[in-house]
């Protein structure tokens, strides 16, 4: 009988029972960690390692979740040496050679977050406790990301966040075991503001409609602060309920409010509906204060753009990544994804794929699956070739700093996937902020938890 805080299912796959030897190295260097194959949650035994892909499979973000899952399957295929290798060939770190992670073949389990923090935690716990997952990744909303990240911290596994854009994920709710590759509200604001100043001038009056929950609040704050910094004035901010479907009563008063720009801090179904409504009310073609009225959507996603259809034409927003990026890494990924599934990947798929690779590489470099080793390997890690230019995984908050894309709805799309065009690639330096920036204050990473 062995006592443990969390299960170690890997043990039985080979029938071997590992000794209870617990090495506790104090200085990081790959060699030291590699000696310790036990003493942490779900230490993989045998020749396989299990990753947990926790994505929304039911509920409104199910399509996004499906795309994330495709990316994960592709990543696993590439890690195990299948397919054309995708970004493995362009990644600046060369430890990934198609032999799995740390020489172990990659297996995976999937779960359904339902985009509910409870369900997502249940699903993550089942993958950790039942299936012996060593790392959890995925998700399509910040509520879920924050909830699962806290769980992984407690359980002692690594969490590689999927799509989560709220500042809180690496701000007030940051955790040592959690890492985010995706960009955030602050970066959206910082990237958008100069482009907007260029396109629409610095003498603008903005009206914000904001989804009435955490992500909405941080996005509104970020966009407000960065646009005010370039000289814009904020006329009004109105909160809209999450469950709202018809935004007419929020949109209608905008034109008469003295504003000449409408910022829609909405995501998912909210964004599709509010943008559709705004266009219906003629805001895109209207005149105000002697200027063309404009609409801005801080966080764009291709899947949502698809839902809004022709309404996105000419509307600015920001995005983490887009398949039309010309760099080698993006092209390689788009090629292998497109060949396998027949259509280009979404930004959610990209971030999930990249996160899996980053994790695998960190394990290889550390020589151990021990979460603390992985944390040390990822902290301050600089890499390139994964689609966003040279990138830094900052040690202070586990946020990736990389180029951010400002995009615009395309006027003449050639297909249902070709809805956005890149307007500008904002360099990483422009979206970098201090770890203790007020928008991110109040959190602490704590120390890494290896569990067990």
């Amino acid at each position: 009988m062995s006592k443990s805080t969390l299960t170690r299912r890997g043990l039985l796959k080979t029938g071997a029972v590992a000794g209870a030897g617990l090495a506790a190295p104090t200085i990081f260097d790959g060699k030291a960690w590699s000696a310790a194959h036990t003493g942490f949650t779900n230490a993989p035994e045998g020749d396989t390692v299990t990753l947990g892909f926790n994505v929304p499979q039911t509920g409104p973000y199910a399509d996004e979740g499906a795309d994330e899952l495709r990316a994960y399957e592709l990543a696993v295929e590439h890690l195990n040496g299948g397919g054309d290798g995708g970004m493995l060939n362009t990644f600046s770190s060369k430890t990934l050679d198609g032999t799995g992670i740390n020489g172990k073949r990659v297996e995976y389990v999937t779960g359904d977050t339902q985009t509910k923090s409870d369900a997502a935690r249940a699903s993550a716990r089942s993958m950790i406790e039942k299936d012996g997952a060593i790392m959890i990744t995925g998700g399509s909303s910040s509520g879920v990301a924050v909830a699962v990240q806290a769980l992984c911290q407690e359980a002692g596994v690594i969490f590689m966040a999927g799509l989560t854009h709220s500042n809180d994920t690496t701000g007030k709710d940051r955790k040592a075991n959690g890492f985010r590759h995706f960009f955030n509200s602050y970066m959206s604001g910082a990237a958008l503001a100069p482009v907007l100043a260029n396109a629409y001038g610095t003498d603008r009056k903005a009206y914000h409609l904001t989804a009435d929950y955490n992500w909405g609040y941080t996005t509104e704050q970020a966009v407000k602060e960065s646009t005010e910094a370039i000289g814009w004035e904020t006329v009004n901010t109105v909160l809209t309920p999450l469950t709202q479907t018809d935004f007419s009563s929020y949109i209608a008063p905008v034109l008469n409010s003295g504003a000449d720009v409408l910022v829609l801090n909405h995501y998912g179904g909210n964004m599709v509906n509010s943008l559709t409504n705004a266009v219906q009310f003629g805001l895109r073609d209207a005149q105000a204060n002697g200027k063309n009225f404009e609409i801005v959507v801080p966080l764009y996603s291709r899947l949502m753009a698809r839902g809004a259809g022709a309404n996105v034409k000419g509307i600015y927003g920001s995005t983490n990544w887009h398949w039309s990026l010309p760099d080698e890494g993006s092209q390689a990924f788009t090629r292998s994804f497109g060949t396998k599934y027949g259509f280009p990947p979404s930004q959610a798929a990209h971030t999930c794929y990249v996160q899996t690779l980053l994790y695998a590489d960190a394990v290889n470099r550390a020589g151990s699956f021990n979460p603390c080793a992985v944390v040390e390997a990822l902290e301050g890690f600089e890499f390139d070739g994964l689609g966003n230019g040279p990138t830094l995984y900052r040690a202070e908050d586990h946020q990736c700093f990389k180029d951010v894309l400002v995009v615009r709805g395309k006027e003449n799309p050639t297909s249902e996937f070709d809805l956005l065009e890149i307007v500008e690639i904002t360099p990483a330096s422009q979206v970098t902020y201090a770890p203790d920036h007020p928008q991110f204050a109040g959190g602490a990473l704590g120390s890494c938890n290896p569990g067990a």
Partner: protein
């Protein structure tokens, strides 16, 4: 024994055995085998089985006995959860105060909502409870964010001003929930051949609470109070003209079931200290209705079975993806394999909602008494075969068909 007749006592004993041996019963398949997919004996799911069992038992005291269909019961679970987390943030990581406060706060909240909602009956009562729960959800998700954590849920942080105990452990983590030092996440693992069984401290705490909750429910069912509640459902007119006032009886039932919900919420955060607003969404209330009906409303054991079944589907069925399906049917010829996968796929994995909907409809149509009625029918079938005519059991009262007060 324990003030129960023989039949009820054996029922309690069966439930006790089932819960205590759950780690064995729920893990019938050896590790690493194809069928291990269907094992449910891991701490999180076992905890959920009993916690939702408690929730459903409580709901059944209201719906099963009085027939009042509350469509907003998840609000009490949510309020209880928030109260529990706040207790941990402010007072101690010991689960006892958290659970107690959860029950009390949920009880107070249900007095308020019950007092207002019970002024109406039938569908009006359902709509009132639904409206209150939806208001609670909407506010908790948005304007009450400072109190509830909003979208990300209320969780512990490294700078909680905890009075008893520390804010941060020596290793720099948030302390974990415990019962006088016994950590809820502690587990013993037992290896027997190819099998692995996990005995989790948190689970056993929940299981003991479930047994107490179940015992109380049996006592309530067999008590004059329980009989009065069934009278409420059966004929309020006659009840009034028999000198009984149905209002306080239904309110008491409402509050008791609200406290059960609060207890479930408190246990939930004791096992996993995070309280999310989605817990109060109307579909969550719908879920406990499904559990109770599926198992058998008005029966003692039904709600526990229903809760187990739905949580099993949610957690096990939803994890089966197409890769696993292909593995299962790999022994078939290719064409048939693909056909089988295509046929089964819509119902598992991300299609588990569909399966749930279908099963639920079938139960409501053909087995209004839920799984318990199904079991009774089968048992009767066997009994008839043995040709042992048996008179009606004097102590056996469960109603086959749930009726709502109208």
């Amino acid at each position: 024994m324990l003030g129960l007749n023989k039949k009820d006592f054996s029922l309690l004993l069966i439930v006790a055995l089932l819960t205590m041996l759950a780690p064995f019963i729920l893990n019938p398949f050896p590790e690493g085998s194809e069928l291990a997919q269907f094992n449910a004996g891991y701490p999180d799911l076992m905890q959920r089985f009993v916690i939702f069992g408690i929730f459903a038992i409580g709901f059944n005291i209201l719906f099963g006995l009085t027939g009042y269909l509350s469509f907003g019961h998840a609000a009490f679970l949510g309020v209880g959860s928030y109260a529990g987390v706040w207790m941990m943030k402010l007072l101690t990581m010991n689960v006892i105060p958290a659970i107690l406060v959860s029950v009390i706060v949920a009880g107070l909240f249900s007095i308020l909502i019950g007092y207002i909602s019970l002024r109406r009956s039938g569908i009006y009562f359902s709509i009132l409870t639904l409206a209150f729960a939806q208001m609670s959800f909407a506010l908790a998700y948005s304007v009450l964010t400072p109190l509830t954590g909003g979208e990300t849920g209320l969780q512990l942080s490294l700078n909680d001003p905890r009075i008893i105990g520390t804010s941060v452990t020596e290793s720099g983590s948030i302390p974990v929930t415990h019962l006088f030092g016994l950590e809820m996440r502690d587990s013993f693992e037992l290896e027997m051949g190819a099998w692995l069984f996990t005995f989790n401290a948190g689970y056993y705490v929940c299981a003991v609470v479930l047994l107490v909750a179940f015992y109380i429910a049996i006592r309530i069912f067999r008590s004059p109070f329980g009989m009065m509640l069934r009278a409420v459902k059966s004929n309020q007119q006659r009840m009034k003209y028999t000198g009984l006032n149905p209002k306080p009886y239904t309110l008491a039932a409402f509050v008791i079931s609200g406290m059960y919900a609060g207890l479930a919420g408190g246990l939930m955060v004791s096992m996993d200290p995070l309280a999310g607003a989605e817990r109060m969404f109307w579909t969550a209330s719908g879920e406990v209705v499904l559990m109770t009906i599926l198992g058998g409303a008005g029966t003692l054991i039904g709600p526990i079975l229903g809760a187990g079944m739905i949580k099993y589907m949610e957690n096990i069925l939803s994890k089966i993806n197409s890769t696993i399906l292909h593995e299962w049917f790999a022994f078939m010829p290719d064409g048939i394999e693909d056909l089988l996968v295509t046929l089964v796929y819509p119902f598992i994995g991300k299609g588990w909602h569909l399966t749930l909907g279908i099963i639920f409809m079938l139960v409501v149509i053909f087995l209004p008494g839920g799984l318990v009625e199904g079991g009774q029918r089968i048992a009767r079938l066997f009994r008839r075969k043995k040709e042992e005519p048996k008179g009606p059991d004097p102590e056996h009262h469960p109603k086959p068909a749930p009726h709502v007060a109208e």
